[in-house]
Symmetry: C2
Subunit: 304 residues, 2 copies
């Protein structure tokens, strides 16, 4: 958290305004393990509630770490974490095909019990045991968007949509919301959040320095930029692993196609050079949208 | 949650603007039990982080239930939960005398282990086992107040300071914040929140209909109102149980003494009649501040 805070504070010092979101995989995984281990003493909470807990937990740590870093630099600003619900479609095909493993590994016996007693779809995971799988539907609408916008406009740094947001269904008759046991991809939710706020850049910070083609093979090559057309072509060809770089590139493409200026995928430790075009992978509509550091040389092209 | 939402929606329909806060005793207790039961698999989180989890959990349920109730009534408004840190004083005498029991009951053996390994002060609790006790310091300042104020002014309904807020220390040199393993009383935090926002009324909804004098004795009597002077006298005389009605009356007194118009303590199911002076207990500066329904009759007084 402290390292992340330093990285983000560098961007703020450069004059960028930030809206933050984050994943929650390991944290909600731990909360689910705690729910399971204590299930004889405390009724387990449904996944949407565990997601809300993880938003509180991670948001708190992030707002405190970043607030403290900014205070030390004499650049304090209001930082707030907002518990965020994200509407998904009841008819999203994901609900017919749950694919996202969550929580602990179970024995076959316990898996059968959970399938029977709680109706969990369970799947054997590469010889390591059984895991619950949940649907991963598309983010449609951020319920708290008006309040997020109002706070952003007031100059606050908002942390929202943590873990992809808490998935909810909206009753078409009454407008009432209901939590859903599912997981929304955090990168796709980030694209919706950024587009909803009119952000110019979607910066996806992760643990690899760049997007790679032919990932994991001897001829693997890192790419400093992709047009959305190229990125879409690679996505269709299955070039990026699902649940990893796949949704990041998909989110980048959706952001730029939806009206964002650029999306940048980079290492968490290289946020600042990445925004300057000196690290990471840029995804843009056309090569003219690249920063100077990345733009293919006119001279070379003319000479080619 | 649904019942609470209906009660609060009634107030909104009457034209009141609300800022909400809530306790977290049972919920953070359950989270602590889950942390303990899973401690061999998942490192237990410190109490401040568990408090942040409970803010996410309860805020989510409340914003969803209230949002849905308002949607059904065709009166939707932005509702947001903000993860809230509350500054406490490092020199607060509470840190020398931890008094607040939290989390599970332990055997004497496990209590000794926790005291040794994690430095928890442990206390035997009325023959039921051992519990961890933590300090309960005074709330000094709400870190996120500027953002809360900005959102309230934008017309949003804000849920903040859940569980009394997450207690933090502020480094006097750098301004950096650090979480503290303590519990801030929720009613006292509510008074600070209400005063900070310039609210006219502090409404404390609980599970008894009114404040009682000589509570639990045959001559117990419920009181419809108290002046702050009377309330302060009863507090000093130890009239109200600590950890129960005591902090509620103390919060009411602080709110009115601090510039609030009135504080009302009432049953969760009687919020609306209480605000009309037809239920609960009002705490006011002087009898002239009481609503008509409660004001002592001039005729009777003249005749006395």
């Amino acid at each position: 958290m402290a390292a992340t805070a330093r990285s983000l504070a560098d961007l703020l010092e450069d004059g960028h305004q930030l809206v933050l979101t984050h994943g929650n995989g390991p944290q909600v995984g731990n909360i689910l393990i705690q729910n399971e281990e204590a299930h004889f003493a405390v009724p387990p909470q449904p996944l949407d509630v565990c997601g809300a807990e993880s938003q509180g937990m991670i948001g708190y740590m992030l707002q405190q770490a970043l607030g403290s870093e900014l205070a030390r630099r004499g650049a304090a600003c209001p930082i707030v974490t907002m518990v965020t619900q994200v509407v998904v479609d009841r008819n999203d095909p994901a609900f017919r095909h749950p694919t996202k493993p969550v929580g602990p590994f179970y024995t076959a016996e316990r898996a059968r019990t959970l399938a029977r007693e709680r109706g969990y779809p369970m799947r054997e995971d590469a010889g390591r045991g059984w895991r619950r799988v949940v649907p991963s539907p598309q983010p449609r609408e951020i319920v708290e968007m008006p309040a997020i916008r109002s706070l952003v406009e007031s100059g606050a740094l908002v942390i929202a949509c943590g873990g992809g947001g808490i998935p909810v269904w909206r009753d078409p008759e009454t407008g009432a919301l209901e939590g859903v046991e599912a997981v929304i991809d955090k990168d796709l939710a980030a694209a919706v959040l950024g587009l909803g706020l009119g952000c110019d850049t979607l910066l996806i910070l992760t643990d690899v320095p760049q997007v790679a083609l032919r990932y994991g093979r001897p001829e693997q090559i890192a790419v400093p930029y992709l047009t959305v057309a190229e990125a879409r072509r690679h996505l269709t060809a299955g070039e990026f692993p699902a649940g990893s770089m796949g949704p990041k590139v998909e989110a980048a493409v959706r952001f730029v196609e939806g009206g964002g200026r650029q999306a940048v995928i980079a290492s968490l430790t290289e946020a600042k050079p990445a925004l300057a075009g000196q690290a990471g992978t840029w995804v843009v509509r056309s090569l003219e949208d690249l920063p100077g550091a990345l733009r293919p040389s006119q001279t070379l092209e003319a000479g080619a």
